[in-house]
């Protein structure tokens, strides 16, 4: 036990003396969460739009006021002639122009149909699409509020309600995703690098020619990173909770258990990588290419698994991160208990056991 | 050996912040001489040599190498010297021929000259069988002989050798020194930096650097007489003890 404590102590010395890695270790989760939460988002906020109101009557004024009061749009200016529309777009500030046809109110009352045209700047297709959806939503909303059963402007109203994430806040998707990526990165890459570093500087030779047992070396290596990963997970959850108002509806205890399980599976992957690489560089490349990319691409973090081609969907099943993301979302958003996620948990446990077994088997008691 | 000075160093000093790595050293090296530049690791040898080959600027003092000032004409200095280090010599994953062609190109040799050099080297070093082998597959001794030849490709006036024969087997080592003697005989000046004192025994003259200053400079024979010992190793030991 004394040996083990001595070993862990040494590992912490390494970690805390390498200021740059330490900064990356704790700076990265914060930066990533903020990045994903604020910058890379499907939501729109404060988009600059212009209005070309050819009718300028009561109805259009009401609609415009509604748009002005929404947080999504800033009405930048009014346009008075058609030829100005393109000019405005070319300036680049305006992302959309709403055009109300002539005699808007009149048409609405007499023909039951009035046309609002939304022209969007599709150089950013996603933004354009979202703007179009938001504007039509606002107008529909206005329409329904008018309570004019006789006019029946929209005969079939599609009502969609979003469960669990009613505002479709993308940050609810990103927090579990980033947490998964960070835990995988910290756990797998850092352990594999720290083990291969001992190989590289030659201390592994001395450790091998000593009474310390291989599993003591492995656990001693892994232990500090379990600790660091847990701290990281806590930081991410706190950021999600306080900055992005991401709820944790389920049991915190269950969430911690699942996180530790995932951390251990990532750590055993790290050990596995270290058994097949001889240099820190190889370990890093293997961790990045072999773990990070699949985690980001195939786990459902960024790209929905359902819309992937079938072979990719099948491959995604062997990615532990996929199951962890499902679990985390279920606990945090749906607030479910273990009875709903035992299958995913079992899969994770199975994978972890497999990785640990392989890495202990592959861990060499000699140099080759 | 004649008395033409090919390297002139006057009060050469290099400071890193408060630390003076090279403390105003002064010495001359003559044309065609094998000059040993000795010192323990950290004595300032490498720093001094870097200034002489024009890749580090002196804090003060002057050095003239092959007729060029190391500070203002460093590009000309680089053109007139060759450099061989034990650590980096050649690309292991290229063949001998590719290495020679590559380095010839770097030194600005024409294609015709490179061809001539390859033919010449194949003959001198008996490379017929291995010219298309990867350098990585050659024994250490061959690599060293080869990288010495590569350092000489552009026929420099001075060659700087950084610990050239450490760890090589005794016979290969002799062959290597014979190559050096031949080159010196042809008029090339050889500047050897090393902390292996037995390498010093082969030099015409040696300087010993301790803590950034040159503490002894003479032929190995005279130094041994002066310190009344049998080997350069003992000269160094005595010198280090005196300074402590």
């Amino acid at each position: 036990m004394k040996r083990f404590i001595g070993f862990v102590k040494k590992e912490f010395y390494h970690i805390f003396r390498d200021k740059r890695s330490l900064f990356i270790l704790f700076g990265m989760p914060i930066a990533q969460i903020l990045l994903f939460g604020f910058a890379i988002t499907n939501e729109i906020n404060n988009v600059e739009i212009a209005i070309f109101d050819q009718s300028n009557d009561v109805e259009t004024q009401k609609i415009i006021n509604k748009i002005k009061s929404s947080p999504y749009f800033n009405v930048e200016n009014q346009i008075n002639k058609e030829s100005d529309i393109e000019k405005e777009f070319k300036k680049g500030k305006i992302k959309a122009v709403l055009i109300f046809e002539r005699d808007f109110s009149k048409n609405l009352q007499t023909k039951n149909v009035a046309v609002v045209q939304a022209i969007t700047d599709a150089t950013e297709p996603n933004v354009a699409n979202t703007i179009a959806n938001y504007t039509s939503a606002i107008i529909q909303n206005y329409q329904s509020q008018k309570k004019q059963p006789k006019t029946n402007l929209v005969k079939v109203e599609v009502q969609s309600r979003m469960f669990y994430n009613p505002e479709l806040k993308s940050v609810f998707n990103f927090v579990p995703g980033v947490m998964t990526v960070i835990l995988m990165l910290v756990s797998a890459m850092m352990t594999s690098i720290s083990i291969t570093r001992e190989k590289e500087i030659g201390t592994m030779e001395i450790l091998l020619v000593s009474p310390i047992k291989p599993f003591q070396v492995i656990i001693g290596k892994v232990f500090p990173y379990i600790f660091l990963s847990i701290i990281n997970a806590i930081i991410i959850l706190l950021l999600g909770f306080f900055v992005f108002k991401m709820p944790i509806n389920g049991s915190l205890l269950l969430l911690s258990f699942e996180s530790i399980l995932f951390i251990i599976s990532a750590l055993s992957l790290g050990i596995l990588i270290s058994t097949i690489s001889d240099s820190q560089q190889t370990a890093m490349m293997l961790s990045l290419m072999g773990l990070m990319l699949p985690v980001i691409i195939l786990s459902g973090f960024i790209f929905p698994i359902n819309s992937m081609p079938l072979p990719m969907q099948i491959i995604s099943n062997i990615i532990p991160a996929k199951w962890f993301i499902i679990i985390v979302k279920a606990i945090m958003l749906k607030g479910v208990g273990i009875q709903y996620i035992w299958k995913e948990t079992l899969i994770l446990i199975g994978m972890t056991t497999l990785f640990i077994t392989i890495s202990i088997k592959k861990y060499k008691i000699r140099l080759e | 050996m004649n008395e033409e000075k090919i390297i002139q160093v006057e009060n050469l000093t290099k400071k890193f912040g408060d630390f003076t790595a090279v403390k105003g050293i002064t010495f001359d090296v003559y044309k065609g001489e094998i000059f040993g530049f000795l010192g323990a690791n950290g004595a300032g040898k490498t720093t001094a040599m870097k200034m002489l080959i024009g890749i580090s600027n002196p804090t003060s003092g002057k050095a003239n190498v092959a007729g060029f000032d190391v500070l203002s004409q460093s590009e000309m200095v680089k053109k007139s010297i060759g450099y061989m280090s034990q650590k980096f010599s050649m690309y292991d994953d290229l063949t001998i021929k590719e290495n020679i062609t590559f380095f010839g190109g770097i030194y600005g040799l024409s294609r015709k000259q490179i061809k001539q050099k390859i033919t010449q080297l194949v003959e001198e070093l008996e490379l017929q069988e291995v010219i298309n082998n990867l350098v990585g597959s050659l024994p250490l001794g061959w690599k060293q002989k080869l990288s010495f030849s590569v350092a000489l490709l552009h026929e420099p006036k001075i060659v700087f050798l950084d610990e050239p024969t450490g760890g090589v087997d005794p016979i290969t080592r002799r062959q290597f020194w014979e190559m050096i003697y031949t080159q010196a005989y042809k008029g090339t000046t050889i500047f050897v930096t090393t902390h292996y004192m037995d390498e010093a025994e082969y030099c015409d003259r040696v300087s010993i650097m301790v803590d950034g200053a040159i503490e002894a400079l003479d032929s190995p024979k005279k130094l041994k007489e002066q310190f009344q010992v049998d080997s350069m190793n003992d000269v160094f030991l005595k010198l280090a003890r005196n300074i402590e």
């Binding site: 001595g6 500087i201 001395i206 | 090589v168 005794p170 002799r174 003697y181």
Partner: protein, 298 residues
């Protein structure tokens, strides 16, 4: 017998690293493996420290088999690999404490063994190992290898890249450790260090060429070597190699070592020959045989 090696061979892919090597090291002996880089010294060390398995042959350390009883060997030997293998980001003291703990001991317990080495680096005990000079790193590494009072010490090229003063001190430390009853197997590419060992094995290209005490190796060498010098070394080597009865001609420090095939070799004849070849300041005198001379003639 502390170490016994019988017909060990080891190859990596197509390279035969060591080929049918056998030797024995007695208890309390300072035994040297002398040979250039790539001779197979490190492979022998790694097999004996149980880090590698030999393809053929047996080896025992302290009567333990290197294959079966590897755990017992790992408990009782000290090993200093060729490369400086300590934690550069840990201080001198932390390194030593760490190695003491993993060997299940403390610095205090075996302090008498490392004392005279450790006092030299103790002033720097708060300094990180990476910031030490070559000689100090080497002393620290030795302390770490000794901290658990091993019965056998394996030192793979401990003096490579170290300045002469530190080298000398290091060998003095080895002598003192030997007096404390520790068996030491040391390797070095420096022929001049051979004479500091009790017995040596000369090794090249994976084969042991000779095993004996350094003095025996020299006294049993029956050829007479001459130191020869002239003003023009390059020409001298060339002309000596053209001298009809030459056996070998090797540059050797400021002299050329010359051996003649003729039993009744007369230096005056050679003197005349060299004068004819326009050599000046000629010196011809009998030379001291060194281990290196013997090595080159094997």
């Amino acid at each position: 017998m502390s170490i016994s090696v019988q017909n060990i061979s080891k190859s990596y892919k197509s390279i035969q690293a060591i080929d049918d090597v056998s030797f024995e090291v007695n208890e309390g002996e300072l035994f040297g493996l002398i040979g250039p880089d790539g001779a197979g010294k490190t492979t022998i060390f790694r097999i004996l420290t149980t880090l590698l398995l030999a393809n053929e042959g047996n080896a025992k350390v302290l009567e333990f088999d290197v294959k079966q009883d590897y755990k017992a060997i790992r408990n009782s030997v000290g090993y200093m690999p060729g490369k400086f293998s300590l934690y550069q980001d840990l201080t001198v003291e932390e390194n030593l404490t760490f190695f003491a703990t993993i060997f299940g001991t403390t610095i205090e317990e075996n302090y008498d063994l490392i004392e005279d080495i450790y006092v030299q680096i103790e002033p720097f005990k708060k300094r990180r190992a990476g910031a030490l000079s070559g000689g100090m790193k080497q002393k620290l590494a030795l302390c770490c290898a000794l901290i658990h009072a091993p019965k056998v010490l394996f030192l793979d090229e401990p003096t490579t890249g170290v300045d002469p003063v530190s080298r000398k001190e290091f060998w003095q430390m080895l002598k003192r450790l030997q007096q404390k009853g520790i068996t030491i197997l040391v390797s070095t590419p420096y022929m001049d260090e051979a004479s500091l060992c009790d017995r040596i094995a000369l090794i090249q290209k994976g084969k042991i060429l000779k095993i004996d005490s350094p003095s025996n190796i020299i006294s049993k060498y029956d050829k007479v070597i001459y130191d020869i010098q002239s003003k023009n070394t390059h020409g001298l080597i060339h002309d000596l190699k053209n001298y009809s009865s030459h056996y070998s001609v090797y540059a050797f420090g400021e002299f050329i070592h010359y051996i003649d095939t003729n039993q009744n070799f007369n230096p005056n004849d050679l003197q005349d020959y060299l004068q004819q070849k326009n050599h000046t300041q000629i010196i011809i005198k009998p030379a001291q045989t060194t281990i290196e001379d013997v090595f080159m003639d094997l």
